[in-house]
Structure formats: C-alpha cells, structure tokens
C-alpha cells in the first residue's frame, strides 16, 4: 500500500472535468484507490465519490493506492495533480 499527500492546485478545484480525469485514469489500474479528505474517505474510481469530496483549490488530500500496480497508479494520479489537470492555477 502506498500513501501520497497532494494539494489541489488548479483554480476551479476538483470539478467535473478533473474528477472525470482522475476516475478514468484510476480505472486503468488494477489497484484499489481511495482519496481521504478530512475524516472522509471515498473510492477514487467513483466519479460520484470524487465529486462529493467537493475539493476546492488549496484542499489537501491523502491518496491511498493498494494493489499489484500501485506504484504506476500513484505516479499517474499524482502526475495529474502536479499538472493541475492542465488547467489554470
């Protein structure tokens, strides 16, 4: 299991488009993927889950990957956060 901490950097937060990107990317991997925010944990392969996080710019999130390809999954998902989902910051 790998845990990573990320910050939402793009201005608009995890709105519809970034949420879709996360879910689509995560679904390519075998590993389970969870996102924790405050005391709340959701399945990162669920668009409804990611949307209910209501993560705005500046939110700090814990990403949890668990499975055979957890390294690759972590790299891919953290990459999305680092690039701010290709959106303005």
């Amino acid at each position: 299991m790998i845990t990573r901490e990320v910050t939402v950097t793009n201005q608009a937060g995890l709105h519809t488009r970034p949420a879709s990107m996360i879910v689509r990317t995560a679904s390519k991997f075998q590993s389970d993927f969870y996102i924790q925010k405050d005391d709340y944990e959701i399945n990162g392969k669920s668009i409804i889950g990611v949307m209910t996080l209501a993560a705005e710019q500046g939110s700090s999130l814990i990403l949890v990957f668990d499975g055979t390809d957890e390294e690759a999954a972590a790299t891919a998902i953290c990459g999305l956060f680092e690039q701010g989902f290709g959106e303005a910051r």
């Binding site: 709105h15 879910v23 392969k45 949307m51």
Partner: protein, 603 residues
C-alpha cells in the same frame, strides 16, 4: 395564462396561452407532453422471483441513458464547446459508477424494491453530501445527480423516452435542460413551449442556435395541454393557440407560408445595409453570450457585437474563479472573429435575476447588490476580467460596458481599477489598446433622467430597456401578479430613451440600445424616431428589423415617436406601431399583428 382548464373530451374549445417568444418561427402540430416525474417516485415491493428481471430493467435503462448522454456530449461539444460537453461526459461516467450501479443492484436484491426507488434513494444520499458543501459550485453539481436519476427513471418508466417524442410534434414541458433540447432537435421537433425559464436561459439560447421555435414563461401550459392536442406555436408573439378552430388553423397556415417566404427573403436582405429610404444608416449589432454563437453574426448580418454578456462564460466555468488566461482565450477568439467590427464586453453582471449566487440571499435583489456594485466590492473578480479584456484588445476593437451603474463615482472607481490594470500590464510588457472605451448601461431611471452628469465619465451609453422598464414602472415581470403591468412601450420609458439619446448626441457620445426591444421589428421605427441609430439584439431578429428600417423614412419615424410620446399608455403606443407597420411593411404587419383576429378583417 391558461384560459380554459376544462377537459371536455368532445370538442375542446380554442384557447390562447401567452408566454415569451425566445426563438422566432411558427409551428403547427400535435402537442407532446414531456413530463419530469422525479417528484413521485414510490417505493413498492417486488417478489423475490422478480429481482433478476428488475435488475435487467435497470441495466437496460442505464444502457439507454449512456447512449443518450454520449450523444448529448458530442452535440454539446460541437455546439457549446468542451466545458459543457464535460458535464455530460461526467454524467455518463456516473451511470456505471459503483457508488450508483452496484448500490442500486444491491438494494434491489436485498430490499426487494423497485429499481426507480433504489436509484432515487441511492442518489439522494450522495446528493445530500454535495448539498452540504460550502461551495456553490458543488451544490450546483448535485443537480447532475438529479439529472442522471431522472434520465434513468424515465427510461425505466417508459421503456424509451425519445422515440416517444414524435417527429413533427411540439414539445410541451414544465422546463427543459439544454441537453433535452439538443436531443429533441435531432428528432426534428417543430417547437417547444415551456412553463418556466427566461429568454436568456440556456434552453432559450440553444433553441435559437438550433432554429427551434420556442416560447417560455407560459406559467402552466403543461397543465392545460394534453399530448395529442393540436397546437399552433407562434414564436413571434410568444403565444400558443391550443385546439385551434379550423378557421384559425387556416389563417396560421397562411401565416406560416408568409413567414417562410420572409425567411427566404432574409437571405437577400442580410448583405444589404440597414439604411432608411432617405439614406440614414442604422447600426445593427448582435447580443451574444457564447463564443459558439459567432457564426450567427455573418448569417444574420450583424455589425459586430453590441453586448457580449459574460455571465454565462462564468457559469459554464462553474465558479467565479475564472482565470485571466482562460478568459483571455475566450475573449481573444471572439474579438478575432468579430474584427474589424467592434466587440462590446459587458463586465460580469451578477445579482438581480442572474443565477450565479455568491452564497448570498437578499430580500430585494433587483434593488440590491448587483452589477458594478458587486464588482467594485470584489477586486478578485474584477481584475482578472479587466486584464483579460484589455489583453484581448490587441486582437481587435473592443469596448467595455458597465452594468447597473447609478453613481458617477462607480464609473470613476472602475476607471481607477482599469488604470491600475493597464499599469500592471505595461510593466509586464503585455500589449493592449490604451484607448479602450468604457461605457455604461442606462437601465435605472435616475441615470436616464440626468444622463448629462455621466457624459464626462462615460465614453458611450447603452440603454438596457428591460431593466429600465421594470425600474421605471416598478414591475417585476417575473411576478405573475403584476407582469401584465410590464410594457416597454410605456410612454414614460420612451421619454427616458429619448432624453438619453438626445443628450448623448449633444455631447457627441455614442448611444445604443441592447434590450429585447431592439430586436422587435415593431419597435424599430419608434426607436429610430426617438433618436437611436444603434440597435443591438439577438442576431436572429436582425433581418426583420433591417427590413422595417429599409422600408421607412426618418421623418416618418420621428413623427411616429412624437405621437407615441403623446399617447396615454402603452396600449395606445402598441396600436400606433401596428398601424404604422401595416402602412409601411404590410407583409411583416400581417405576421406580427398583435391580435390574430384583426388580421382576418384586414384581408
């Protein structure tokens, strides 16, 4: 207002339902009642033996919903751009989301309840979470879940939704989403008539863009009409005639022919100048809200953009933090497309009836924190927008328009902000046009009454006739109890328009009008007669306005305006305009005449 709620099954009487025409055209055909039925999802028990069947029904509803949404997303991408397509793509993803799909299957299996109830109850939980968010954006996204729910439930109930919308029917509904109308337009519906939503709502804009005649704000047509009722939808007058008599039908068939004839003539009129018979040129500009509407400028012969409302851009972005770079991209595309003509950007006009709340409620929003009042209090919104507009000014001529100005100091404060933005850009080495004009909306009587006070502060004026009317007459036209008192033709409103036009001219300042009135061919001679030479309206209305202008002389128009100012009330003004039109543009008069009965007498 529905006149006859009776449901006699023998011969239903003809009755007229009045609304607001948002997309012109005439349609004749059977009604199709499109019901939104999320209100009454009941729970009922199913037998254990029926569980598999119920799950199969759910799966098939999900498949159909997926197909719908993929189709809607691709049409939205083409017509409205990536941002709105993303919303439908996300909805499509939600269908197979285990938080929805697996939970519903599990619930059906465990609780032996019907699929529709399982869907509603699962989604309701998630929706509550989103509604609890501090962010307006995420609270709004809870509506996505509701849309998804409705879509699945509709498929569960009827088996299929869209094939139920017959080709060549007129869709009647409480309200529609932009997605609905996109899909319906592909089924070649003839038109639509809705209980709710305004002329600047998404669905109205889509109807215009897709050339579907549409009427909104009927307040209850979906209650007084049944599927299969014969309808005449008159988008020119914002009127639906239910169960027309054979005589009415005959009359409207002729009208339809004439309308189609006029539309074909519009093609010829588009390249011609908007010039009166005695050689006075009138500028006809377009009111726009989406970059995707830009092709309409050429199609309908608009000379640039007289009003680009930026609210929808922010709304589609999802929140107020619409970055300077993203705004610049959109503004640049618009300006490049419109150049060498001018683009007039109105800075964000929040408040009033504009649906972009800042987590904020007011007792009396139209007299509250709106327009420039909000912007001056919110530099974090003002600056990115002003900087983006300035930077876009290197790609073509631009004007900036300020909404809801009531004080001179508001314009001065805005100019200070503008100067500061310019200084920053200079320092950063960003190019921009140093002389971008700053104008104000004239939409409050105090401004119109003493417009000379603003002559030193503003570079141009733009009359917002909708708000000017409602503030002058103290009528909220969204309020059914008093909406009948709202009329832009009220002589008091006309007097304010005339004063504004005359004073602006005396000070050598450009003045135009960008309210709905500017798109009315009936009002065009009056507005020109009152002294306006610059009209801006939704592009689809421009060919007819131009036609009227080309058929009149300025002296006659001035004479008409004088008569109107002396008239006792709006009704009398309306009669003057109708008479005038019958005399000067009889073809158009027949189409536009206020009362369909009078037309028969004229023939």
């Amino acid at each position: 207002m529905n006149v006859s709620p009776e449901h006699t099954h023998e011969r239903k009487p003809e009755h007229v339902v009045q609304g607001i025409g948002v997309s012109p055209g005439i349609a004749i055909g059977p009604a199709f009642l499109f019901e939104r039925d999320h209100h009454d999802i009941e729970r009922y028990e199913i037998n254990p033996g029926e569980v598999d069947g119920e799950i199969n029904r759910f799966e098939s509803a999900v498949q159909k919903s997926e197909r719908d949404l993929n189709k809607i997303a691709s049409i939205a991408r083409e017509k409205l751009g990536e941002a709105s397509a993303a919303i439908f793509e996300a909805q499509a993803l939600m269908l197979r989301d285990h938080a929805l799909y697996d939970s519903v299957v599990e619930k059906i299996g465990k609780e032996h309840c019907n699929a529709a109830y399982a869907v509603a109850s699962v989604l309701n939980q998630h929706r509550q979470n989103m509604l609890a968010s501090d962010s307006e954006y995420f609270r709004e996204r809870a509506n996505d879940l509701l849309d998804v729910q409705e879509r699945i439930v509709r498929h569960l109930r009827r088996g299929k939704i869209l094939s139920a919308v017959d080709h060549d029917s007129i869709v009647v509904a409480e309200t529609l989403t932009a997605a609905d109308i996109i899909l319906f337009s592909r089924r070649n519906i003839l038109g639509c008539a809705l209980d709710y939503s305004g002329s600047t709502s998404h669905v109205s804009i889509m109807a215009r863009a897709l050339n579907v005649p549409a009427i909104v704000g009927t307040h209850g047509i979906s209650q007084s009409v049944e599927s299969g009722d014969q309808l005449i939808l008159d988008g020119l007058h914002g009127r639906v005639i239910v169960n027309p008599t054979p005589e009415t039908l005959k009359r409207y068939r002729r009208r339809l022919d004439r309308f189609q004839h006029l539309v074909s003539e519009h093609k010829q009129i588009v390249p011609l100048p908007a010039e009166t018979r005695d050689g006075h040129r009138i500028t006809l500009r377009a009111n726009l809200e989406f970059a995707e509407e830009l092709p309409l400028l050429k199609e309908y012969g608009a000379q640039g953009i007289g009003l680009f409302r930026t609210e929808i851009l922010f709304l589609m972005q999802g929140r107020l933090a619409f970055s300077e770079e993203d705004q610049l991209k959109t503004y640049r595309r618009i300006v490049e497309n419109v150049a060498p003509e001018t683009t007039t950007f109105r800075v964000l006009d929040l408040g009033g009836d504009k649906m972009l709340p800042l987590g904020h409620r007011e007792q009396n929003p139209f007299l509250g924190w709106r327009g420039i009042r909000v912007l001056l209090d919110k530099p974090e919104i003002l600056f990115p927008q002003v900087r983006a507009i300035l930077r876009a000014s290197t790609f073509g001529p631009i004007r900036i328009l300020l909404p809801m100005v009531t004080q001179i100091w508001e314009v001065e404060r805005f100019r200070e902000a503008l100067d500061q933005a310019k200084a920053e850009l200079r320092e950063e080495g960003q190019p921009f046009d140093e002389d971008v004009p700053v104008g104000i909306m004239v939409e409050v009587p105090s401004v119109a009454l003493m417009i000379q006070r603003f002559a030193a502060a503003a570079d141009f004026f733009s009359l917002g006739s909708n708000d000017l009317t409602q503030y002058t007459l103290a009528v909220d036209r969204g309020n059914d109890l008093v909406a009948h008192l709202y009329d832009e033709l009220d002589p008091s409103v006309l007097l304010l328009i005339k004063q504004t036009a005359e004073t602006a001219e005396r000070h050598g300042l450009p003045v135009g009008i960008c309210g709905e009135m500017a798109g009315s061919p009936r009002a065009a001679p009056l507005l020109v007669g009152l002294g306006l030479r610059d009209l801006s309206a939704s592009p689809v209305f421009l060919p007819e306005v131009k036609r009227v202008i080309r058929s009149m002389k300025l002296d006659d128009a001035v004479c008409l305006a004088d008569q109107a100012l002396a008239a006792p009330d709006a009704r009398a003004v309306g009669q003057l305009l109708d008479e005038w039109l019958r005399e000067h543009a009889p073809d158009l008069a027949l189409l536009l005449s206020g009362d369909p009965g009078t037309e028969e007498n004229k023939q």
